[in-house]
């Protein structure tokens, strides 16, 4: 290859990789620095409603001086006010419960999908993916009509004589759980299915030939082999559920405090941008833990497979 073509080629490569790199750097990564700065700022009744912790005019010398007297007031405020601590604890509890429920509900369905005749498997996968393409908001909103006191579920329960008066399901944590399980089910089904589908059926046959009853073969062969899929599903579900806003807002009523909603309220209703940013920073820190743990496990698995 001539030198000129080589230079052209590397220029082209720079453009191909550089364009998305620059875009994501500016619009995804850099904003986190601004969130961090905002979380250290003071609230003010101006427009925009904050007094910056650092500003360009001060220059590096001024920044250094300020670093010593930085206000962690917003973070201290998060700790002082039990409301925020509660919101974090509740979010983790609700997201963890939903994740466990999703494994329990998703596993039998994904298992059946993987065992279905090869001919109809693509159709089943398509059916599992399709709800993902329909609006999240719409699918959550549909549950309002089902769960509300004068809604479909209560009417059905009363018609069957199971309850005498409508149950209060909407605006409770149960409704939030239902909403989360419902909206995240496709995210759990797909990794589970992928892990189960590529399993070698002869392994089960071998276990059974050696005298293992079906449940034992399932428990000792199928389940351990599908664990990476379970893990991937949990990861895909737990983290977004942790910061979920739409589900607790539409189904949880004012009682269920989840952190995504607290952030939203602080930002839109109380116009406390610095506090909302502090909430975001803490949420990010909580998320980093599971992400790193997952990456670590994935790396180990890939190395073991090699």
């Amino acid at each position: 290859m001539s030198g000129g073509a080589g230079a052209g080629r590397s220029g082209g490569r720079l453009l191909v990789a550089g364009l998305p790199f620059a875009w994501l750097l500016v619009f995804f990564l850099a904003p986190f620095a601004i969130v961090l700065r905002m979380s250290l700022s003071e609230r003010a009744t101006s427009r925009p409603p904050y007094r910056p912790a650092f500003s360009w005019e001060e220059g590096p010398a001024g920044w250094w001086e300020k670093l010593g007297q930085l206000g962690f007031d917003n973070f201290a405020g998060l700790l002082d006010e039990p409301l925020y601590l509660d919101a974090f604890v509740t979010s983790i509890r609700i997201a963890a419960t939903a994740t466990v429920l999703l494994v329990l509900i998703g596993y039998p369905v994904a298992y059946a999908m993987a065992r279905a005749p090869a001919r109809i498997r693509p159709v089943l996968v398509m059916l599992a993916v399709l709800p993902f393409w329909t609006s999240f908001l719409i699918r959550v909103y549909a549950w309002v009509g089902i769960l509300k006191p004068e809604g479909l579920l209560n009417a059905a329960l009363m018609a069957l004589g199971i309850v005498d008066e409508p149950l209060q399901i909407l605006d409770t944590e149960i409704a939030v759980q239902i909403g989360l399980v419902y909206s995240y089910l496709p995210f759990m089904l797909l990794p589970l299915y992928a892990a189960l589908e590529r399993q070698d059926a002869t392994l089960i046959e071998a276990a059974q030939d050696l005298g293992a009853p079906p449940w034992k073969a399932f428990w000792l062969v199928t389940v351990p082999l599908s664990l990476p899929g379970v893990l991937a599903g949990c990861f895909l579900v737990f983290i977004p559920a942790l910061g979920e806003f739409v589900v607790p807002d539409l189904l949880g009523g004012s009682e269920t405090l989840m952190i995504g909603r607290t952030l939203w309220t602080e930002f839109f209703n109380n116009r406390d941008w610095p506090l909302a940013s502090a909430v975001a920073v803490v949420l990010l820190v909580i998320i980093v833990g599971p992400v790193l743990a997952y990456r670590h496990l994935e790396m180990r698995r890939l190395e073991a497979a090699r």
Binding site: V16, L19, A112, L127, L130, A142, E150, F245
Partner: protein, 264 residues
């Protein structure tokens, strides 16, 4: 794994998919219900659709959403495809780890954080919030989805065709346009569709980054849904569901056709 379905398997499949689809089916049914109540069937009616189409605020929001969706999906498809090519084809390069991280992180990032951080960026840059800020925000998170879709196609792709073109003297750009792009076109189209529907659906990020005059359809639906179930919203949702379903059917037919042409 294919050893036939037990009764338990059939029951789990039926219950699982009933759970996934029943709420959507109910919503569509309610939108044609003459009665406002969800428990009473007042007869078939298209009354709510009529009211919806007389609701100017709703129509304006739909127009904004459509424009944001078309522009953001198109730019995101270019951006995401470039990122996928860089990740799959360029081997090791400086910043590869970082690009991988920046492509995958937005996929699981809670929307409230993405929304808040983008808004603060726009405020820091002193940009007027409106159509363009929502569009930029949507390009940012949807391009990552495009990148993942296109990447999965590129990984399974036969490189010898590209090598043959290069050996015959085609420049990398020509090779890409004449060989690579036609072969990955179905994935690129699927990426565009995904980006478009994600943009169409997004409430949280749009709420943070939008400004006066750029209220999107989900924002409008949300502000009415908070007040409870309304038949007009049911109608709006049904139209959206119909459009997305139609899009997916067309997309899968196109992919099938492309697949058959590829084989033929």
């Amino acid at each position: 794994m294919n050893r036939g379905l037990s009764r338990f398997n059939v029951v789990s499949l039926t219950l699982g998919f009933a759970f996934l689809y029943l709420p959507i089916v109910l919503l569509v049914g309610w939108s044609f219900n003459a009665s406002k109540l969800v428990t009473v069937w007042g007869g078939f009616s298209t009354r709510w659709y009529g009211e919806l189409f007389r609701n100017q605020a709703m129509l304006d929001a739909a127009w904004v959403t459509l424009r944001v969706g078309l522009v953001s999906a198109t730019v995101a498809t270019v951006m995401g495809t470039l990122a996928a090519i860089a990740l799959v084809r360029f081997g090791r390069f400086a910043g590869r780890m970082m690009l991988t991280g920046m492509v995958y992180a937005p996929l699981v990032m809670p929307e409230v954080i993405t929304g808040l951080s983008l808004l603060l960026l726009f405020v820091a840059l002193d940009l007027d919030r409106g159509f363009w800020t929502v569009t930029i925000a949507h390009i940012t998170f949807t391009s990552c989805f495009v990148a993942v879709v296109v990447q999965s196609r590129l990984v399974t792709f036969d490189r010898s065709l590209e090598e043959a073109a290069m050996d015959l003297g085609a420049t990398p750009l020509r090779t890409f346009l004449l060989v690579t792009l036609p072969l990955i076109a179905p994935a690129v189209a699927a990426g565009w569709m995904l980006a478009f529907t994600l943009s169409l659906d997004d409430l949280v990020i749009a709420s943070f980054t939008s400004g006066p005059g750029a209220t999107t359809l989900p924002m409008r639906i949300y502000s009415q849904a908070r007040l409870g179930v309304s038949p007009e919203i049911n109608a709006a949702c049904t139209i959206l569901i119909g459009l997305v379903t139609l899009g997916i059917i067309v997309a899968s037919l196109v992919t099938k056709r492309a697949g058959m042409l590829g084989k033929g």
